[in-house]
């Protein structure tokens, strides 16, 4: 058969040719897919955010309400029941707790929704070819948007309590994006395990809770005894929180160490998570 006897439009763009024999480098392919599928990722993020609040009365307002309610509970418990106020220098304890809570919710929801994203989209992944790694990324971005939005009531509170809003606020996206990378990377490891063992998500919730309590969310770091202090310093998300607090209300750029630790952890977690996920995917997809 010659091409002349065939209807037009038969020439196929190279990028639309799938050849299983063509070796694709792990990681390079995955990271490139994040860019190539950016529009679909955008749609998936919107779907996650929209679908989440679709059948609720307050809708997207939950994004703002959720950290506020959690903060109020924590503030009541720790400031009034445990009378834990000392050691938080110069700023109202409420602000200290709220920054911590925003952070904790980001970590918990981020890792959890990234971890469950692949199992939740199994129906699509079993039928159509889509690079699977875009689902974890979209899930993480959705939660990151929540975190960004919940900074708004925090700023209102800062103004109301006379703390003010320092110029360093413009740098706040950096620790939040570092945190996003960490959550996506970590979540992707959980996602690869969760395909095989559905209770990996339950196990992980306990782990993340531990990680959360090893971060000074509601207690000041100063009251922690020496041994635990060292443990906290090993906690990768601790540095994200230091930066976040310093930038959002402290008005300080911190030293260089937390920057290196935060950005480094994010990059390493995302790279490792993506590579581990890509390697386990081939075997995992058959079990979906």
């Amino acid at each position: 058969m010659t091409s002349g006897s065939l209807p037009t439009g038969l020439r196929i763009k190279r990028e639309l040719i799938y050849d299983s024999g063509r070796a694709e480098p792990v990681l390079v392919t995955q990271l490139r897919n994040f860019w190539r599928y950016r529009r679909l990722i955008g749609l998936l993020v919107r779907r996650n955010v929209v679908a989440r609040y679709k059948r609720s009365l307050l809708g997207v307002w939950w994004t703002l309400l959720n950290p506020l309610l959690t903060m109020i509970v924590m503030w009541l418990v720790f400031a009034h029941v445990f009378r834990l106020r000392a050691g938080v220098a110069g700023i109202p304890y409420v602000i200290y707790v709220l920054t911590g809570v925003i952070f904790l919710i980001f970590l918990q929801q981020g890792v959890d929704s990234v971890g469950s994203s692949v199992v939740l989209n199994a129906e699509i992944l079993k039928k159509v070819y889509v690079p699977p790694e875009i689902f974890p990324l979209a899930a993480g971005i959705g939660i990151a948007i929540n975190a960004f939005l919940s900074v708004l009531p925090l700023l209102v509170l800062q103004l109301a309590l006379g703390v003010g809003v320092p110029w360093t606020l413009i740098l706040v996206p950096i620790p939040l994006v570092a945190m996003l990378c960490f959550a996506v990377g970590y979540g992707m490891v959980i996602a690869s395990v969760a395909i095989r063992f559905h209770d990996a998500l339950d196990f992980n919730r306990v782990l993340v809770m531990l990680l959360g309590y090893l971060t000074p969310i509601f207690y000041p770091i100063a009251i922690v005894p020496g041994a635990v202090h060292q443990l906290i310093e090993l906690n990768p998300v601790y540095y994200d929180l230091i930066l976040f607090r310093n930038l959002v209300y402290g008005g300080s750029l911190s030293t260089w160490q937390p920057w290196v630790a935060a950005v480094g952890t994010g990059v390493i977690a995302l790279t490792l998570g993506t590579a581990i996920f890509a390697r386990s995917w081939r075997a995992a997809v058959a079990r979906l």
């Binding site: 065939l6 749609l43 039928k127």
Partner: protein
């Protein structure tokens, strides 16, 4: 210059490595691991399967349940990677398998149309521009702003089919899809598939309906136990396949006859 084949499968093999005992929880797995009780079983879902489909050509896949037909479809759809051998697919693939299964039922018909179309590889802007046309073919124009959870199964299938076929993909994968829906949908979808075949789309379909295979397929691939028993012209393969089916059935009918005599 000869047009390259749309689908080229050379010596495809696929192994499912399954744990002999299904463990769904980590605790159980850890316990088994400690006791060294994790055993795996290699299940060869496909062994050395080769075929090719050219533009406008229709290949039907037949065989008993568990023959590897669905696995083969997934390999062509790029969902599963072959363990050995090679598969080349040139162009966009539209799987018409469990139509509407990828929909998110809290979203509206319109939102699902855009999302599902994008998953199939189309640009969201193109989909927005074509949304009216896609909805009209599916007959759901008036329900585009309603969540798909309120749709009937027929509406879901029609919308899924319409989105998947709107942009005239190069390769269609069909898994008994045309048996869903009412007579009108069956006729209209068959007509659209035939139009697409005329335009050079290739079709790979799994079916148990011999008459639809006879009317549509140019070639037939007969699978059993993951191996290609026969691959060739429709009439030849179907005749052999049906003869073999009769041969399997015959002893059973004889035995039944004996049994009923004894009773």
């Amino acid at each position: 210059m000869a047009t390259p084949a749309r689908i080229e499968a050379a010596d495809l093999s696929l192994v499912y490595r399954l744990p002999r005992d299904q463990t769904r929880s980590i605790q159980e797995f850890a316990i088994r691991l400690a006791k060294r009780q994790i055993r795996y079983e290699d299940l060869w879902a496909l062994t050395g399967v080769s075929f090719s489909v050219r533009p406008g050509e229709v290949l039907a896949v037949v065989g008993p349940n568990g023959a590897g037909k669905s696995t083969l479809m997934k390999v062509v759809a790029r969902v599963l990677s072959p363990t050995q051998g090679r598969i080349v697919v040139r162009g966009r693939v539209a799987p018409l398998i469990e139509l509407g299964a990828g929909f998110h039922h809290d979203l509206t018909g319109y939102e699902n149309l855009i999302l599902y179309g994008s998953i199939l590889g189309h640009h969201p802007d193109d989909l927005r521009a074509a949304a009216g046309e896609i909805a009209e073919w599916a007959g759901v124009t008036d329900f585009m702003d309603a969540p798909t959870r309120t749709y009937s199964s027929g509406m879901l299938s029609r919308l899924g089919f319409s989105v998947a076929t709107w942009a005239r993909p190069e390769v269609l994968l069909v898994d008994e899809v045309l048996s869903v829906g009412d007579e009108t949908f069956r006729r209209r979808s068959t007509r659209r598939i035939k139009e697409m075949l005329g335009e050079g789309t290739s079709l790979l379909f799994v079916s148990h309906q011999m008459d639809s295979i006879r009317t549509l397929a140019h070639k037939v691939l007969w699978l059993d136990g993951g191996r290609a028993v026969m691959y060739g012209n429709t009439e030849e393969v179907l005749d052999a396949y049906l003869t073999a089916q009769d041969a399997i059935e015959a002893p059973i009918t004889e035995r039944q006859a004996v049994a009923s005599q004894q009773a």
